[in-house]
Amino acid sequence: MSVAVILSLGTFFLGAPAGPADAAASASAPATSTPEVAEVPDEEAPPSPHTRGLGVDVESVAHQAAAGFSGDGRWQVGASAGYPWWGARAQLGVGHGLSTAVELQSALARRWRPAIGLTSLWLDRPRVRISGELLLGWLFQVGELARRGPNAELRLRLALRLRRAAPYLMLGSQHTLLASRTTIEAASGTTVRWSARGEWTGWATLGVVAAVSRKWGIDLAADLTWVDAPATAAIPGAHIGLVYGGFWR
């Protein structure tokens, strides 16, 4: 039974019979087309006029999510929950090889980082995508170790494109500027001094976004983050998320 389950999962991600979306694509294909061509259209081919308005395209939302990049005219939103990281993200393809993003990241509701980002697709091959992303935001950390300050993150993503799944590796380098103020009250008057230190958080996520349909995807990933390295210990975690997307023009 377990072998059957594994085989079923394998055929689902790597090569499965056509699902509902694929069936729709197959139905619109000429009768002389092979099933493979009909089910996995050329990535560069224009979307069908019947499906474009519904956000059903040759490129699934799962593949966009894995690369952190949406092509021109595409959008997607997603949310994930896990330990210790939660997140929500919206991204919008604006053309010229660029995609914008708005993201909210949280660790156990104690550490929050809202940010906006710009993603550039550096390598775009049928099976592989590499993107770079710059996020600018603000860090709020509440509790005993309260922190706040401007935050910037550089991300590098490697995403593979399988039939129904998009495995990916994301490496991030997150930097926060933590400013402190010292007020000295002397007999001669009061002086204020400012100082700052940096907080670096290294980030690695290894996961897979499974395409439920062209518009829906499920993200499963393992996270390894090292907040305020090297002064602390790295905490491994995992998350599960849902992504949904379509067209905005």
Binding site: I116, L118, A186
Partner: protein, 154 residues
């Protein structure tokens, strides 16, 4: 409907100014400058030689069940017994009151009564008048090998 990519970028960038509203100060430290004048004394005929370790401490820190006495602020080393004048920065958010504790380092090892030494004298006085920028205190070193915690009765 055709929309400009620039409009989307402008919308995203427009959110940036709202982010600093949460503040950016992490450690907000308030220091109060105190010039402490006074004298370190030993009993008549007592030992005089050796450096003096002078510690400034808060009388009380913390609140409720977590309150505790004698939080250390700083330690300086004086050349010996006698008059002194030193300036300290006292963190006002971390405690109340001031206590001065001193001990005479007879053997120069930096340790109060290490094994084999039993004649290192110590003394403690609560500094009256804090907060004020100029304070005075006189400490009599008369208790051999006594730590600050033994000498202070809150």
């Amino acid at each position: 409907m055709k929309r400009s990519p620039r409009a989307a970028l402008a919308l995203a960038l427009a959110l940036l100014p709202a982010l600093p509203l949460g503040g950016c100060v992490n450690d907000d430290v308030h220091l109060y400058e105190v010039t402490l004048r006074g004298e370190i004394q030993v009993p008549r005929g007592g030992p005089y030689s050796g450096h003096v370790h002078l510690e400034l401490r808060h009388a009380r820190s913390g609140e409720g069940g977590l309150a505790y006495p004698l939080r250390r602020i700083t330690t300086i080393e004086l050349d010996g017994v006698g008059p002194f004048e030193e300036t300290f920065l006292v963190p006002t958010d971390e405690g109340e009151g001031l206590v001065a504790y001193a001990w005479l380092d007879r053997d120069g090892d930096g340790l109060l009564c290490a094994p084999g030494t039993s004649d290192e004298l110590a003394g403690l006085r609560e500094v009256d008048g804090f907060p004020a920028h100029a304070l005075e205190v006189t400490i009599l070193l008369e208790h051999p090998c006594a730590g600050a915690e033994i000498l202070y009765a809150p």
